[in-house]
């Protein structure tokens, strides 16, 4: 179906271009502010074309003791470990579910499915995790709560079921391969598209997680980037209060480029996603519609 009328066609493209501005401008604004000189901001507010630009904000972020570098490491560490662990755990759970005729399959499916319908509530969860599992202020708090997604597990199971012929598994068994070996060297490679998409979405979930640290982390050494950002937002003072090395203090002489620093932090946190996004765009879109595969 296409539009033959040239005028209508142009109108539609115009509308889409306007929408592009709506979607891109806010992000662009944040980036521009991060490069704006603080005195310009003080005089005129945030502008599209700043009178004077400056790299002070980024200099400040990476030289002061705000802990940005450290938070970056925590984010990268928990994202890498978390994604690996969660894809492994989910593939392990999904594979037996995909096998026809396994006894108790219905129970194991219902077991994870039910958690999508009913939850114990925030307080009970919080007390369990902190008081009984003692997971508060540990790196596990950033990894384990997100590791097992029932939804992705069910999607993975469906993918295994529909793309991997049972005959292939049978013949591998006849050749003497164990179940674990079949999963690792046969099923996972065949299911690469689904695994890659789910891994991407888990990476995103870990990278963007501020909720679990907000509940479970108070130790500054375990702040991840998103949580550091959230804390900074709430506590503007923290910027000026954060202990500075003498060298940094003398360079900025008490004039912290507060607004620019805040937006620069934001750029630093979303940067990797924005950079990677165009290249993996296909997988991102695939991931959004992967749920359409009937479970």
């Amino acid at each position: 179906m296409e539009i033959s009328n040239k005028f209508v066609n142009a109108l539609i493209h115009l509308l889409f271009l306007a929408l592009v501005v709506v979607f891109v401008f806010p992000i662009l604004l944040v980036i521009i502010i991060s490069f704006t000189d603080q005195s310009t901001i003080n005089n005129f507010g945030y502008q599209i074309i700043p009178a004077q630009t400056s790299l002070d904000a980024y200099r400040y972020i990476f030289t002061s003791d705000m802990g940005v570098g450290h938070a970056y490491l925590v984010t990268i560490g928990s994202t890498v470990c978390g994604t690996l662990i969660s894809v492994m755990v989910m593939a392990l759970y999904a594979y037996p579910l995909s096998r026809p005729g396994l006894k108790g399959k219905g129970f194991f499916t219902f077991y994870i499915f039910f958690t999508m319908l009913f939850s114990g509530g925030l307080l009970a969860w919080y007390i369990m995790v902190t008081k009984y599992y003692h997971m508060g202020n540990t790196i596990l708090a950033l990894i384990l709560p997100l590791a097992m997604s029932p939804w992705y597990t069910i999607i993975m199971r469906t993918f295994f079921q529909t793309t991997i012929p049972m005959s292939v598994i049978e013949s591998a068994k006849i050749d003497g391969a164990g179940e674990m070996k079949i999963l690792i060297s046969l099923v996972l490679p065949l299911a690469k598209p689904a695994i890659a998409t789910i891994a991407l979405f888990q990476t995103l979930a870990y990278w963007n997680d501020w909720f679990n640290p907000m509940l479970l982390i108070t130790d500054k050494n375990l702040y991840n980037l998103q949580f550091l950002l959230q804390v900074m937002m709430k506590n503007i003072q923290m910027l000026s209060d954060s202990a500075m090395s003498a060298e940094v203090a003398s360079r900025f002489a008490g004039n912290i480029p507060e607004d620019a620093v805040r937006m620069a932090l934001c750029v630093v946190a979303m940067g990797p996603i924005l950079i990677v996004y165009p290249f993996f765009q296909k997988y991102f879109i695939q991931g959004l519609t992967i749920g359409a595969v009937k479970g």
């Binding site: 179906m1 539009i3 066609n9 493209h13 889409f16 592009v20 979607f23 806010p26 992000i27 604004l29 944040v30 005129f44 507010g45 945030y46 502008q47 755990v89 392990l92 759970y93 594979y95 037996p96 096998r99 396994l102 006894k103 108790g104 194991f108 077991y111 958690t115 009913f118 939850s119 114990g120 509530g121 925030l122 307080l123 009970a124 969860w125 007390i127 369990m128 995790v129 008081k131 590791a147 097992m148 179940e179 674990m180 995103l204 963007n208 501020w210 909720f211 998103q226 949580f227 959230q230 937002m233 805040r262 937006m263 934001c266 979303m270 924005l274 996004y277 991102f284 879109i285 959004l288």
Partner: protein
Amino acid sequence: MNKRLTRLRNDIPLYMMFIPGFALVFLFSYMPMFGTIIAFKQINMRDGIFGSPWVGLENFRMLMNNSNAWLALRNTVLYNLVFISTGVVFAVTLAVLLSLIKNKLASKVYQTIYIMPYFLSMVIIAYIVYAFLNMESGFLNNTAFVNLFGGEKVNWYTKTNAWPVILFIVNAWKTIGYSSIVYLAAMAGIDPGLYEAATIDGASTWKKIIHITLPSLKNIVIIMTIMDIGRIFSSDFGLFYNVPMDSGALYPTTMVMNTYVYNMMRGAGAAGSGLSAAASMLQSVLGFIMVVSANAVVRKIDRESAMF
């Protein structure tokens, strides 16, 4: 009998594979479910879930008499109703328009850009909103803007009435691209022969949209809407907590069930814990009933699309 035993024994490696996932779900989903009994207890952190004394329905009685709880419930339902109804209209419109673009590359570029906000965290989005609304220098408060409209700077973070609109815009900005992609994917399944036949019969593009595209989206629209209605008692915590920066002045229009549950748990002592537990239990039970009934309705409409 022997055969079945051998089979079961052969399947042991398969059952072992369940263990890590099973354990995680048990720890993070089922234990808290058993923990909901705290809603019937006088909670104190020292005695934990099992040691705290029973108080029957006391927490629920308090909740019923708590005006903020009712406010949160009202806000949650109202926001969801607005988000659901407008979301469908926007997303379907956008999907139909996207499908009209001849140039496939342009269409891909547009889609890619519209979905982008979906992948940003609510903390980041809160910063973006702050860049617009901040009292001292926010974009809407910058010199040029204020001069242009001859007004004064507005402290948006205390302007209660503005927030339903602001949150609506933010939510639309974040989710429209994503939901339009879902509809676009559904449209890919329409038989192209239908359009060809319509063209031969001399139907205009508009006619084709009205008589072919929209009717074939009817089922998925109904199903998505019902599923959303099933989640009417829950809300995106990040949207209502981070974006208004948890500003107390804004609570009348920004507090929803999820933020109420969190704020009661964090800041209001033992009484708050009771309210929090009671509210989240109520939310879970109501949510469960809603989702199961929504699913039953979907099953009636289209068996294939039911979740279970």
